[in-house]
């Protein structure tokens, strides 16, 4: 539609158009009316001038045909043509922001539908980025951010003293220390204790024996948390007092699965760990303190008169008094620890164990613990993927904007403001991003399901994770931001189009838009740089994983089956009876065809819960006032070392004689020998552990007790019975089998039932699995990083490919000319390839700098590899070189294959 103002006569349009603006006329119709009324005014004006009126007066009189109050619009409003939704003339302002946006949206839908290939590519790219970000955000939200399900959870803290062994974690309390805090605290409204690990107790009667995880928790800890049973009641303080009545609360799940959700279970007695306990309540399904696997809770009966100073096993939680800060509470706790002497702690404890400091942390933080860092790193990683996806789409948009320069120029010529044009393009990118976000949510949903299935050990609260309102809100915000991010550059570029150049210069030319090339190149280099960082990160994780896998755990995990048994204390009334039971069990297990050797140990390596005890070595007494050395003390059965293939360095392993005859035997690990008797035999040396006075009978290989990434501990192994009457209850059996260990589970189960039909078999797993779980944090982080890096690499390659293809298509005439003038196809190939290499090279250099800067963040996750590991750096660079060559090869080959004649004709 030509502009009416270019027609002969005065410009009446500016008087007419504003009067129509409030109507919902189609632009075509509006222009018609403007034309028609302008003609009317012109006729009138000419007549007046012809009649002798001065021109100004004539103008005034002609316009007097319009009366006050815009009657034109008023009379036109009921007409149909004023009702129809405006057809879209892109970019024309209607004067109503909302209507403009609506128009932009409709236009966007049309444009996107017209270019399905572009739309699908952009949406999929964004879906990858947004999906990954949403999935990990859900994990971060569920694990790190979501409040615990307790009223006023912000005031619940975990309290502990720090010890010299690990000053950044809270040491549990002894019963004395616990009561000292309960009686003297000023900062805490309520103070409660619990056993941090669930205790596996057999539940017998009412069906087959079942080992359930029991939480020990004081009645005051329930008050701290502010939780109530969904049925029944909480334990009373009397029930939580030493030798109080035996009561139990069931988890909702156990109640449903074992007791058919029968409400009449309340008040009845059940057999737990061989004692009759009264069921007093059912806890709601959401209650999972201290660990999610707890099936039942029994009151933790803590004796204030206990003499066990050295037994630090009570976790403490507390509710801060209103207005008390964490800092004030920490000061209070510090003072209380300083006064531990009042309850009988020897002064030596303050030199050897306590640092004098206290830790008071919000419970949520304490639960999340060291899962925080890998999660945040993974979150940052997927953020990188999203950035790469954004710059990829920005590049797609830039190329597309190139093809739409004329359209934009026309729209600018038609009176569409630059701001309006920018907005139109931003609406387009945000719509794209939201589509990507929607597809991303689907991806995230699938991803989270996979993640929870894989279920990396060591990430708490994983079961709670899902796509919820918070995650959806996050996705929406991220999508809009991403849309704005990748849309703003192409939009600004497009709006700076010069009408005349764009319209005149309708052919593509290699000389225009040098700035555009720069932008595109910069975007690709950014992608390459980000991808480089991710590939380095994942490379470092792979190397850490390899290093961890290559750590010798000290035993051979293949072919070993492990499971836990806990003979009922009521059935086996003393340590001797328990030991006899284990003897029978081992004998029966070793009679099974396919079982090579069976043994047992109190705490299996790599399953945590250390048992540190001080010991006195006769030849090396501690200096006056110094604390004696601390060892990892575990009780083991004959057959354990053989079943686990832990080598014997010197002497012998345990025999049944050691416990049946209560010999004062101790087996030490090689690192203990290396520390005290590096050059002489350790056999026969005297070591006092508590009241046990033992002689070294053997030296065995070092074993990693807590985890593979810390040095092997110094172990002292004791038999399962000793002269002082000490013994074992629960043990983890280790069975070396000739075939696949898990294939023997049912045979072993019936063998156990032959020995004791009340005995459940718990935590059945292969030692391989135990080993794998112990490094699951590393393998989880590695998997996510590797996946992210692969996506990044792929997107980066697509970016290089895209830019080169476009450049080649722009330069087709030029390349044709070169070829016609005698350039060899090989030279052309090299030219394009080298351009690809330049992009990749500069990007990789930028990435290298960022990777080195970010290396510090990763140090905590790495094992046996430096953040600037040369192998990783070289390998990553090689991978990038290869990818860049691959991505450049196709466009380069296309360039080399250009037929000069066609190229020149096309130009």
């Amino acid at each position: 539609m030509p502009d009416p103002s270019t027609r002969p006569g005065r410009d009446w349009a500016r008087h007419v158009r504003p009067r129509l603006s409030s109507l919902r006329l189609s632009p075509t119709r509006e222009n018609e009316i403007v034309d028609e009324l302008s003609q009317h005014l012109e006729d009138r004006w000419r007549e007046l001038v012809a009649g002798g009126a001065p021109e100004d007066e004539a103008t005034r009189l002609a316009l007097a045909g319009f009366r006050e109050g815009n009657l034109l619009a008023k009379y036109m409003a009921p007409l149909q043509q004023a009702q129809t939704l405006a057809r879209i003339t892109p970019g024309a302002t209607t004067g109503h922001a909302l209507r403009d946006v609506w128009q932009d949206l409709r236009y966007t839908t049309r444009v996107l539908r017209k270019q399905p290939a572009f739309t699908v590519a952009a949406v999929l790219t964004l879906a990858l980025g947004i999906g990954a970000t949403t999935a990990i955000f859900s994990v971060v939200e569920g694990v790190l951010l979501r409040p615990l399900p307790y009223p006023d959870e912000g005031r619940i803290v975990r309290v502990g003293a720090t010890n010299r062994a690990s000053s950044d974690s809270a040491m549990p309390f002894s019963p004395r220390g616990y009561w000292h805090f309960v009686n003297n605290t000023r900062s805490f409204q309520k103070f409660g204790g619990y056993l941090p690990q669930a205790v596996p107790y057999p539940l017998t009667g009412d069906g087959p024996p079942l080992q359930i995880n029991t939480g020990l928790i004081t009645s005051s800890a329930f008050d701290v948390l502010g939780v109530f049973p969904e049925r029944g009641r909480l334990p009373t303080p009397e029930e939580s007092a030493p030798r109080g009545p035996s009561v139990v609360l069931l988890s909702h799940e156990l109640w449903a699965s074992r007791f058919g959700a029968d409400p009449s279970i309340l008040g009845k007695l059940i057999d737990l760990n061989g004692t009759r306990q009264e069921v007093i309540g059912i806890m709601p399904a959401s209650f999972d303190f201290p660990t999610p696997e707890v099936d039942a809770w029994i009151p933790f009966q803590l004796d204030p008169t206990s003499q066990l100073f050295g037994a630090h096993f009570i976790g403490a939680i507390a509710r801060l008094k209103p207005g008390v800060t964490i800092e004030a509470a920490t000061d209070d706790a510090r003072n209380l620890i300083a006064r531990f002497g009042e309850v009988g702690y020897p002064a030596s404890w303050f030199k050897g164990v306590f640092t004098g400091d206290a830790i008071v942390r919000p419970l949520r933080e304490a639960i999340v613990g060291n899962a925080r860092q890998p999660l945040l790193i993974v979150f940052g990683t997927v953020g990188f993927v999203l950035l790469i996806a954004c710059s990829n789409v920005a590049n797609l948009l830039l190329v597309r904007a190139e093809g739409r320069r004329q359209e934009h120029a026309v729209r600018v010529a038609l009176g569409s403001g630059r701001a309006r044009l920018v907005r139109q393009m931003l609406v387009e990118s945000v719509v794209l991003a939201l589509m990507g976000g929607a597809a991303g949510v689907l991806l995230a949903y699938a991803g989270i399901r996979a993640l929870v299935l894989v279920g990396p050990v060591g990430i708490p609260r994983l079961d709670d994770i899902g796509i919820n309102g918070a995650a959806l809100a996050f996705t929406a915000v991220v999508s809009v931001l991403a849309g704005a991010l990748f849309g703003v550059l192409p939009a600004l570029r497009a709006s700076s189009t010069r009408v005349t150049t764009a319209l005149r210069d309708s052919s593509r030319s290699a000389t225009v838009g040098r700035a555009r090339h720069r932008t595109r190149n910069a975007l690709v280099m950014t992608q390459v740089a980000l991808a480089f960082v991710l590939v380095i990160g994942s490379g470092l994780m792979v190397r850490s994983f390899q290093a961890l896998r290559s750590v010798d755990p000290g035993f051979s995990a293949g072919g070993v089956l492990t499971f836990e048994v806990r003979p009922l204390p009521t059935k086996y009334v003393n340590a001797e009876a328990v030991a006899q039971f284990y003897d029978r069990l081992i004998e029966r297990l070793e009679a099974i065809p396919g079982v090579i050797r069976a043994g047992g140990i109190v705490t299996l390596p790599l399953t945590g819960s250390a048992n540190n005890l001080a010991a006195l070595i006769e030849e090396f007494p501690p200096a006056e006032g110094a604390f004696p050395p601390v060892f990892e003390v575990r009780r083991a059965m004959p057959g354990y070392f053989e079943a686990m293939h832990i080598p014997v360095v010197e002497g012998r392993t345990f025999t049944p004689d050691d416990h049946t005859r209560r010999l004062p035997s101790v087996i030490i690990s090689n690192s203990v020998k290396a520390r005290y008797w590096p050059d002489t035999s350790a056999l026969g040396k005297r070591i006092d552990i508590g009241k046990i006075s033992a002689r070294v009978v053997g030296v065995v290989g070092d074993v990693h007790g807590a985890s593979l990434d810390v040095a092997a501990e110094q172990f002292l192994y004791l038999p399962i019975l000793d002269a002082t009457g000490g013994g074992v209850q629960a043990m983890t059996m280790t069975v070396r089998t000739a075939s696949e260990p898990l294939s023997l589970v049912s045979t072993i189960r019936s063998a156990i039932a032959e020995v004791d039909s009340d005995l459940p078999m718990a935590k059945v797993q292969s030692m391989e699995r135990v080993l794998g779980d112990s490094i699951s944090r590393t393998s989880f982080t590695m998997s996510v990083l590797v996946i992210a890096a692969l996506i990044a690499l792929f997107l980066g390659a697509v970016g290089i490919y895209g830019v080169l293809s476009y450049v080649v298509s722009l330069r087709t005439p030029e390349i044709g000319t070169r070829l016609a003038l005698g350039a060899s196809p090989g030279a052309v190939l090299r030219m394009v390839l080298s351009q690809g290499m330049r992009l990749a090279g500069v990007g990789a250099l930028m990435g290298l700098v960022v990777a080195i800067a970010l290396g510090r963040v990763m140090v905590a996750l790495l094992y046996g590899v430096s953040p600037v590991d040369p192998v990783t750096l070289v390998a990553t660079s090689a991978v990038f070189l290869a990818v860049a060559v691959l991505a450049s090869l196709l466009p380069a080959a296309r360039a080399a294959g250009i037929a000069p004649v066609d190229a020149l004709r096309a130009s």
Binding site: H40, L71, L72, M76
Partner: protein, 117 residues
């Protein structure tokens, strides 16, 4: 023309009797908007006058009803003009309205004429 008359005319426009004026003028031949407004003014001796902001909405309304139809006519060095002509439907409506109008005028005359006779 006084303000009161303008308002009266506007009421007429709404009621629809002004439509009759337009349709009648287009009976003879197609005309453009300015032509129509001039004719109404001169033929009524200045008594009836359409403002631009009421004339065109009226024309568009008639066009939407399908009684008249506008067509653009372009001449060199001039703005294009829109000419309106009666449609067959418009012609039928005009005949009907004329009958009604004449009957109405007759009736009014009968009433008022008796008084002055």
């Amino acid at each position: 023309m006084s303000d009161i008359n303008t308002r009266a005319l506007d009421r007429e426009l709404k009621r629809g009797s002004a439509e009759l004026l337009i349709l009648s003028l287009l009976d003879a031949r197609p005309r453009h908007g300015y032509d129509l407004s001039k004719l109404i003014e001169t033929r009524s001796g200045g008594e009836l006058k359409f403002h631009i902001d009421s004339l065109y909405p009226l024309l568009y309304r008639l066009e939407e009803r399908g009684w008249i139809k506008g067509t653009w006519v372009e001449k060199p060095d001039e703005r294009r003009r829109r000419f309106y002509k009666l449609t067959p439907e418009g012609r039928r409506v005009l005949a009907q309205q004329r009958k009604t109008w004449e009957a109405f005028v007759k009736a009014v005359r009968r009433v008022t004429g008796d008084e002055h006779a």
